[in-house]
C-alpha cells in the first residue's frame, strides 16, 4: 500500500476540517433554499435504518411500560374509585350517544345526506423522535408498503397527532401539531368559528386567524374543519386553555410526549367526490366510532 508522505498527510489534516465546516454550512444553505433537495435521501436513509431503529426503540417502551405498571400498583385504589365514577358518567353518555346516533341516522335519511367515505387505518409504532426541541416530528415504522401516503392524518384514540410528511416504503415521518411549521385548519366547536392551529414548538399550539377572536372561551373544544381538503372535518384536536391577544392556546387532547402507537387514517379524501345516488341510512360507519364518541363528550 502506498503511504502518503508526512507532509501530504499534514496538509490533508490541516485542510479537511475547515473544508468540512464550510461544506456543512453550504449544505444548510442549499437545503434551506430547496427544501425538497434532501427529501429522497432522508426517506431512503429512514427506510434502510427503520428495522434497526424499530428494534432499538423497543427496550425504551418496555421500560416505560414497566415503570407505568409499578406506578399503577401504587395508585390502584384511587384509580379504581376514579374509574368507577367515570364509568357511571360514561354509561349515561352511552345512552345519550345511542339516542343521538339513532336521531342522526334518521335525520341523515330524511335529508338524503351523501354517505361518508369508508375509512381505513394503519397502526404504526413510533421508532424515533427528533430530540432537541427545534423540530417536533416522530418517525413511524409504516410506509407506502402499508398504505401510508403523504398528507394523511395521524391520530390516536383521543385526538389528532399530526400529518404524514415524508413517506418511504417502510418508514414515514409525522409532523406533529406542535411543530413550528404545522398549520391545521380548525373550527371552534361551539361557535363554528374558523381558525388555524399554528404550532410554535411549545407544548400548546396557538389558535390564530380566528373569525371571531373575542368569542373564544377557555374550555372551547377545537376540532378539524376539513378546509383545504387535507384533513377530514370533525377530528378532535384539543381544548382552549388560555386566551391571548387575538387568539388562544390549545392543549392537545393527545399527550404527544407519551405516545407509542399512532393510527394513520386514510379517509380517501382524494376520491371524496359525491356519489351519484345517495342512499338513505347507508352512511358508512366503519371507524367513525372514536370521533363520534369524542364529540359526544
Amino acid at each position: 500500500m502506498i503511504r502518503p508522505s508526512a507532509q501530504l498527510r499534514a496538509t490533508i489534516q490541516r485542510t479537511v476540517p475547515p473544508f468540512l465546516i464550510l461544506l456543512s454550512a453550504a449544505i444548510i444553505i442549499v437545503g434551506k433554499a430547496d427544501q425538497s433537495m434532501f427529501e429522497s435521501l432522508r426517506v431512503a436513509l429512514a427506510d434502510d435504518l427503520s428495522p434497526g431503529l424499530d428494534m432499538l426503540s423497543r427496550p425504551f417502551s418496555v421500560a416505560s411500560t414497566a415503570f407505568d405498571r409499578v406506578r399503577a400498583f401504587f395508585t390502584m385504589y384511587e384509580d379504581n374509585l376514579r374509574l368507577e365514577r367515570e364509568n357511571e358518567r360514561l354509561l349515561q353518555w352511552q345512552q345519550a350517544a345511542l339516542k343521538l346516533s339513532a336521531d342522526n341516522r334518521d335525520l341523515r335519511g330524511l335529508l338524503k345526506v351523501v354517505p361518508e367515505n369508508a375509512v381505513s387505518y394503519v397502526t404504526a409504532r413510533i421508532i424515533a423522535d427528533s430530540g432537541g426541541g427545534y423540530v417536533r416530528t416522530v418517525m413511524v415504522n409504516a410506509g407506502s408498503e402499508q398504505g401510508v401516503s403523504r398528507g394523511q392524518a395521524a391520530i390516536t384514540g383521543t385526538g389528532l397527532v399530526g400529518r404524514m410528511t415524508e413517506v418511504g416504503s417502510r418508514a414515514a415521518r409525522v409532523l406533529l401539531i406542535t411543530d413550528l411549521n404545522s398549520r391545521i385548519p380548525v373550527v371552534v366547536e361551539s361557535s363554528h368559528a374558523n381558525a388555524v392551529l399554528a404550532g410554535d414548538n411549545s407544548e400548546r399550539p396557538r389558535l390564530i386567524y380566528a373569525n371571531d377572536p373575542d368569542s373564544l372561551k377557555i374550555g372551547d373544544r377545537i376540532i378539524t374543519s376539513g378546509e383545504g381538503g387535507v384533513f377530514p372535518p370533525g377530528l378532535p384536536v384539543g381544548v382552549v386553555t388560555a386566551l391571548e391577544h387575538g387568539g388562544a392556546r390549545v392543549e392537545p387532547y393527545v399527550d404527544l410526549s407519551r405516545m407509542e402507537y399512532i393510527l394513520v387514517v386514510d379517509y380517501g379524501l382524494s376520491r371524496a367526490l359525491p356519489q351519484p345516488v345517495p342512499v338513505a341510512g347507508r352512511a358508512s360507519r366503519r371507524g367513525k366510532g372514536s370521533a363520534d364518541e369524542a364529540s359526544a363528550r
Binding site: 490541516r14 476540517p17 444548510i28 415524508e166
Partner: protein, 177 residues
C-alpha cells in the same frame, strides 16, 4: 477563530482495528440514543446533547481516532433521521471539535470538575449556536428556555457519559498496550 485547526498530536498507536473504531462507534451510538423515543413528558425537547459529550471526550483524549470526516457523516445522518435541517448538527459538531482541539492540552491530566467545567462552557456555546442557527433558519425568535433546560440536562448527565466513555477508553488503551 475556531476555524483555525490545531494539528493532531501523536498518541500511542492503536493497532487493533476494532478498538480504533470505538470513538466513532460511541459517537454513532450517542447520535442514535438521542433520537430514540422515550415516553417521558417533555423529554423530546430536553434530550441531552449526547453526541457533544462523545465529541468532547474523544477530542481531548483520542483526537486521532475521531476523524472529522466521520463526524461530518454522523452529523448529516443525525439531521436526516431527526427531521431537522440537514447540516446543522454536522456544523456544530465540527466546530466543537475544532474548538476543543485547540484547548485540549488544558484538559489533559486535570481533575474531573475542571473537565466538567470545560464541557459546561462548550455545551453552552454549542447549544446557543444551535439555537441561533435554528432562529436564522426559521427567521423567527425561538423560545430560548427550551435550549437552556436542554443545556442543564446535558451538563447534568455529562459525568455519567464521561464515566462510560472513560471506561471504554481504558479498555481501548489496554488493547493498544
Amino acid at each position: 477563530m475556531a476555524l483555525k485547526v490545531s494539528s493532531i498530536p501523536s498518541l500511542p498507536r492503536v493497532n487493533n482495528g476494532l478498538a480504533r473504531a470505538i470513538p466513532i462507534a460511541t459517537t454513532v451510538a450517542a447520535a442514535i440514543v438521542s433520537i430514540l423515543p422515550v415516553q417521558a413528558p417533555g423529554y423530546a425537547a430536553l434530550t441531552p446533547a449526547f453526541t457533544l459529550m462523545a465529541v468532547y471526550h474523544w477530542t481531548i483524549y483520542r483526537p486521532d481516532l475521531l476523524p472529522p470526516v466521520g463526524l461530518f457523516a454522523v452529523g448529516v445522518a443525525h439531521d436526516m433521521l431527526s427531521g431537522g435541517p440537514v447540516g446543522i448538527s454536522a456544523l456544530v459538531l465540527l466546530l466543537a471539535r475544532a474548538a476543543v482541539l485547540r484547548y485540549r492540552r488544558i484538559f489533559i491530566n486535570r481533575t474531573f470538575p475542571f473537565v466538567w467545567a470545560g464541557f459546561t462552557v462548550l455545551s453552552a456555546t454549542a447549544l446557543l449556536s444551535l439555537w441561533a442557527l435554528h432562529c436564522l433558519m426559521q427567521l423567527s425568535l425561538l423560545d430560548l428556555r427550551t435550549t437552556m433546560f436542554r443545556g442543564v440536562a446535558t451538563v447534568a448527565i455529562f459525568p455519567l457519559a464521561s464515566f462510560a466513555l472513560g471506561r471504554t477508553q481504558r479498555a481501548l488503551m489496554e488493547t493498544a498496550a
